[in-house]
Every structure is written in structure tokens, then in C-alpha cells.
């Protein structure tokens, strides 16, 4: 993947936002002094080679009715793989990361029903023998990426 100046310009501009209008690509192309067809073709390529993971509305998942929380665990190194396997086996566990810290396992639980979160946490604690430190989002100050490329 080789990004040229135009690709970078497109990525930087479209990270900020995309208009809701009849011909939004025309608007963006004009601002970037680009041909509209070229803008669309480059976007297609950037998505195909996975330079961009997606292009479109970013929905705030909690607002769609589901419930989410971030959970931290402190797992003994020699027990880590066993616990990871148990935690990952829960369909409600959406992401799970190993991090370099005393709290070395961090996962996100997503459920359709908010009341179900506590039940999943209890089950994970029983199955793994480790405490879950529940850290639900209380407030959000920014989500998105403004990477200069």
C-alpha cells in the first residue's frame, strides 16, 4: 500500500465528516479540487486495500439499545491462556486485549439487554475464578480518529 498526497488529502478530509446532501461526493471533490470520479475511485481502492476500515455513518452502539461495558482482570501469567479461552468463549465478549499491566486482560461485554451484563460478569467470575473489575463508560468526550497521514 502506497499512499500519495491525494490519498492523504482524502483520508484527512473524510475523517472529519461527510455531508448529507443530494451529491455529497461532488461537494467534497470541489473542496479538494479533485474530479468526483477520481474521489470515488480512490475511496473504493482505500477501502479495498483496508487503508480505511469503513466509510459511512458511525452509529453509537449504546444508543441503538444495547449495553456495553469494559472489564479488567488481573490474571496470573501461567493461567492466562486458560482464562482467555474461557472469557473468549462468551458470545457477549466482543473484544478482548492482552495489555502490559498488572491488569493484563481487558475485554468489552456487549449485550442486547442492559440487565444481562451483571449475569455475564458473575458467570465469568465463577468460570475463571478471577474478579471482574467492571468499568462501564460514564461519560464520553470524544470517539474517532483524527490521524494526520
Amino acid at each position: 500500500m502506497q499512499l500519495d498526497a491525494v490519498d492523504r488529502q482524502i483520508i484527512n478530509a473524510l475523517q472529519e465528516g461527510f455531508p448529507i446532501s443530494d451529491e455529497p461526493f461532488t461537494e467534497v471533490a470541489e473542496k479538494l479540487a479533485l474530479d468526483e470520479n477520481e474521489l470515488i475511485a480512490r475511496l473504493e481502492r482505500l477501502l479495498a486495500d483496508k487503508t480505511l476500515t469503513r466509510f459511512g455513518p458511525m452509529y453509537q452502539a449504546e444508543r441503538l439499545g444495547g449495553a456495553f461495558t469494559l472489564v479488567a482482570m488481573s490474571v496470573r501469567e501461567d493461567d492466562f491462556e486458560r482464562v482467555a479461552e474461557i472469557v473468549n468463549s462468551f458470545p457477549e465478549v466482543a473484544h478482548n486485549y492482552e495489555r502490559e499491566h498488572h491488569f493484563n486482560m481487558w475485554f468489552v461485554i456487549a449485550t442486547e439487554n442492559p440487565k444481562h451484563i451483571d449475569a455475564v460478569l458473575t458467570e465469568i467470575e465463577l468460570d475463571t475464578g478471577y474478579s471482574c473489575y467492571n468499568m462501564p463508560k460514564q461519560d464520553e468526550y470524544f470517539v474517532g480518529l483524527k490521524l494526520a497521514v
Partner: protein, 168 residues
């Protein structure tokens, strides 16, 4: 916040849900993308745009944008920086930290004393670990006296990653 959330959810009707399902994987790359969505759903483009605008105003849509793959762009050092700041200041400080270019997510979360004193989380993206640590220092300078302690947790491995999405 919980009450607000439920209000917003109940405001989504069947047409909203169909628009979400049709666009959660992305917008069509066509000259008139909202027309393309509309004709798929059998409604007018004007209605699609109006509903997208309303969902944007309500915060159901954060924004319509391109999301870069930060690993592909060379941002391979991703640290979760965590901060202990006074509760009375966390909203104002969170907004300032969230506005920094290199911060992708910024949240308030509960402390678990004494094991976990941190209440503000900011994901920092950089091309090297050194650069990430410099950026964490930048946040520390911004917070000044309100920084009552911080740490940064680098990811070692992705153990699981599946999408969170609306099911039809």
C-alpha cells in the same frame, strides 16, 4: 444518562432501523449515495437524509466519516492512557484531552479503589512507543496539577475481536 439513552432508543422506529441496517457496513460509493440507500428501502432520498440528520442531532450517529485503519497507516503503538483526575474537573478535562489530535477515544469510567484509582481513559495512537509516551507526557502537561497519577497500558495481543452490530 440512562434515562436519556432509553428515550433515544424508543425514538428509533422501524424505518430508522432499516436505514441503520442498510448503512452500518458503509455508504454506497455512488454519486448520489443517499438515493441509492433510499431506492433499496423503497423510500425517498429526502426521507433518508432527514432521518440521518435527525439521528446525527440526537447523537445516535456520531458522524458520517471515513475510519482509517491505524495499523495500516503506521500507527502501531496504541496505548490506553489512564488518569486520576478530580471528579469535579473530569468533564472539562475530558473534553480538552478528547480534542487532542492523537486521542481516538476519551471516556470517564469508575475507579475501583485501591486497586484502580483512574477515572479518565484516553486512547493514544502513535507510530512508536517513544512517540506514544511523549504524547502521554503532553496530556500530563495539559492536565497540570489535576494529574493525580497516571499510567499507560500498551496492548500486547488482540485475544478476540468481533464486531458489535445491530442484528436484523
Amino acid at each position: 444518562m440512562q434515562a436519556l439513552k432509553e428515550d433515544k432508543v424508543s425514538m428509533l422506529d422501524e424505518t430508522d432501523r432499516r436505514i441503520i441496517l442498510a448503512t452500518q457496513d458503509g455508504l454506497p460509493l455512488e454519486r448520489r449515495p443517499y438515493d441509492a440507500v433510499a431506492s433499496k428501502l423503497g423510500i425517498s432520498a429526502e426521507e433518508v437524509m432527514q432521518r440521518l440528520r435527525r439521528m446525527s442531532d440526537d447523537g445516535i450517529i456520531r458522524r458520517i466519516a471515513a475510519v482509517p485503519n491505524h495499523y495500516k497507516l503506521g500507527y502501531t503503538a496504541n496505548g490506553m492512557s489512564v488518569w486520576n483526575v478530580p471528579d469535579e474537573q473530569v468533564v472539562a478535562l475530558g473534553k480538552q484531552v478528547g480534542a487532542l489530535d492523537f486521542v481516538s477515544h476519551c471516556y470517564r469510567r469508575p475507579r475501583h479503589l485501591p486497586a484502580w484509582p483512574y477515572n479518565l481513559f484516553a486512547m493514544v495512537h502513535a507510530t512508536s512507543r517513544e512517540e506514544a509516551l511523549e504524547k502521554v507526557d503532553e496530556i500530563a502537561r495539559l492536565l497540570g496539577e489535576y494529574d493525580r497519577g497516571h499510567d499507560v497500558l500498551f496492548s500486547r495481543r488482540i485475544l478476540k475481536k468481533t464486531g458489535m452490530r445491530l442484528t436484523p
